[in-house]
């Protein structure tokens, strides 16, 4: 890292010409990507983008503000259900519905932030967990939310993004890609910039020591609830996008395990780093989708099938996904607490001074 000489150097988006070049290259490659790969991979890319939004949002809360949350599946559920409900019942245009749902999620985030003002560690963990469980239970039992059966999600139309009706359906993964990815991109950049402002620095101060931050003049009530609200807003948007990507939502998709997965994205990527969240979201999504079909993997799949036939049960084979993800979480925390981002930093430093 070079020395920063003035404040504007600290807050600018990218600090060198070379970075600008790679940044534009990244945008260009993201635009042409869906035309080069088969449709299934575009679907995966959409999934990754959604999980990146969640990871960034959760990282603002866990990584930057230091508040644990085991209930983000609740915000995710709020986002998807209210998006779907306001499209089908209120006939709102999709983007407006998404925004509305995210604001509702943010409001719930604010509510959850209130007890969080007084809670720490395990107490906060149980409060957020209770919130997540309560949301799933309520949604599962309330008829307006479709109960256990879930809701069908109408495909948005092109005009329907902004106006209330339209003819051209956005159905294929490629079309959805150009809806989901820009949103993910904008939200990620927004988070990156937010962390360089007064708000971001207040969050970091709260993480390092909330009492010290308060004596320095950081308004704890405001910034802690704000952190929860922003994080819930991100997760809510991701939830809405998830609903149209999957096309069908029911309460069991928003279980406690999903909250752990979200936390795993952040941990594997690296706490307190936006770039880490992107890596975490991308890598973990790929792993999760791959491990769901573990018996189709080349070589390994057949070995595992034979092994489970002999010792375990073949029906339970998809549970390997849970085992591997659990082990990854444990190993990352034990050996590399900074996650993939820490790994990336070390690689960078290694090459900077190579061959020494």
């Amino acid at each position: 890292m070079d020395m920063r000489r003035d404040y504007y150097e600290d807050i600018q988006l990218l600090d060198s010409k070379a970075l600008w070049f790679w940044f534009l290259m990244l945008i260009a490659s993201l635009i042409i990507l869906p035309f080069l790969v088969p449709s299934y991979y575009v679907y995966i890319a959409n999934y990754m983008a959604i999980n990146v939004i969640v990871a960034v949002g959760l990282n603002i809360l866990v990584g930057y503000t230091g508040q644990i949350s085991l209930g983000h599946a609740g915000f995710f559920a709020i986002g998807s259900y209210f998006t779907v409900l306001s499209v089908t019942n209120l006939h709102l245009p999709f983007l407006l519905a998404l925004l509305l749902a995210a604001i509702i999620a943010a409001f719930f985030g604010f509510l959850l932030g209130l007890p969080a003002l007084r809670l720490k560690g395990p107490y906060l963990a149980i409060a957020t967990l209770a919130f997540g469980m309560a949301i799933t239970q309520v949604i599962g039992r309330w008829q307006i939310f479709g109960g256990r059966m879930g809701l069908e999600v109408p495909s948005p139309t092109l005009q329907g993004l902004l106006f209330s009706d339209g003819a051209y359906l956005l159905e294929s993964d490629r079309e959805l890609y150009f809806l989901i990815l820009p949103i993910a991109f904008v939200l990620t950049m927004a988070a990156r910039n937010l962390m360089k402002t007064k708000v971001g620095r207040a969050f970091i101060a709260i993480r390092d020591s909330d009492i010290a931050a308060e004596t320095m003049g950081v308004n704890l009530v405001y910034y802690k609830t704000l952190a929860f609200a922003i994080s819930a807003f991100y997760t809510g948007i991701a939830g809405g996008l998830y609903a149209i990507l999957i096309g069908f939502i029911n309460p069991s998709s928003f279980s406690f395990v999903l909250s752990i997965y979200f936390l795993a994205f952040v941990i594997v990527g690296g706490l307190g780093s936006i770039f880490g969240s992107i890596m975490g979201g991308v890598v973990m999504t790929w792993l999760i989708l791959r491990l769901d079909k573990v018996q189709e993997l080349p070589y390994l799949g057949s070995i595992l099938s034979a092994f489970s036939d002999r010792w375990m049960s073949v029906i339970g084979l998809p549970n390997i996904s849970s085992i591997v993800l659990g082990l990854i979480i444990i190993l990352i925390v034990v050996f590399e607490p900074l996650g993939l981002y820490g790994f990336w930093i070390r690689t960078k430093i290694y090459w900077k001074t190579w061959p020494f």
Binding site: V62, I68, L114, P115, R118, L119, G121, P122, Y123, A125, I126, A127, L129, A130, F131, M133, A134, Q137, V138, R141, S209, I211, A212, T215, F256, V257, I260, L263, I267, L271, S308, W311, M312, S313, I315, G316, L317, N319, I320, S321, S322, I323, V324, L325, G326, L327, I328, I329, I330, V333, V334, F335, E336, P337
Partner: protein
Amino acid sequence: MFLQLLISGLSFGSLYALIAIAMVIIYKTSEVPNFGQGEMAMISTFVAYALLESYGYSFAISFIGALIFAAALGVFLEFVFLRRAKDPNTLNLILITLGFEMVLYGLAGWKWGADQRDLRFPVSDFDIVNLGSAVISYLNIATLLITLILMFVLFLFFKYTKVGIAMKATQQNAVAARINGIRTNRILSITWALSSVIGCVAGILLAPIATLDPNLMLEPLLKGFASAVLGGMTSLVGAALGGYMLGIIENLFGGYVSIEFKSVVAFMTIVLVLCFKPSGLFARHYVRRV
């Protein structure tokens, strides 16, 4: 009606109390809420099931075998994972236990699938005793008795045995305990073993009421944890009382208000209690230095 709800509430509550005690014992020594507790108990219960059904041992032997397995599992988690953590702050330790939970859940699902099984328990849920207007099953009586006995034994253990006192010393001040010649690392391992064994008892008592599948302990764990928080996370008596209270509140709510939202009420109670008493009902509020 009221008496009946009270009795079944007490019986569920005693299971929550056991899990809560197990969590509090860990929390006091390692400062981590053990989210793996439930799955550790679940898989130990499955071990009891396997010993009973596949190997044909008697119930007593299977029970003891499961307890030994549970103890080994607790030591394994502490020794292999938690002790190796590079940066052991609360969040990281919680994550390790969550990861361990996922591994165990996956293992149980892989080995035993999602089939629902019955653990043959020597005391039946269908033999009942009439108590005025209410009935109580032998299984409920057994649950209540075993829980109370276990709590009494724990009380004696912490009060009169050398290991128990060493545990309390480690909980209060690990450095001072080490200076006084207590091998705190070993005490830590024993604590994890003890807690896992208590959890295992809860699992085996729960299995005949619920059905034995990998989801066995998911909700009971969360409610046990909720009871521990309700009682203050640092007090064993508080945890036990919290468990009983939660069981009774939940059952009364289920009986009188709405059976549908029965499992939500536990969590709502917790959030409400935490709003007013952030450290739980039976603990002193912590003061922390900057």
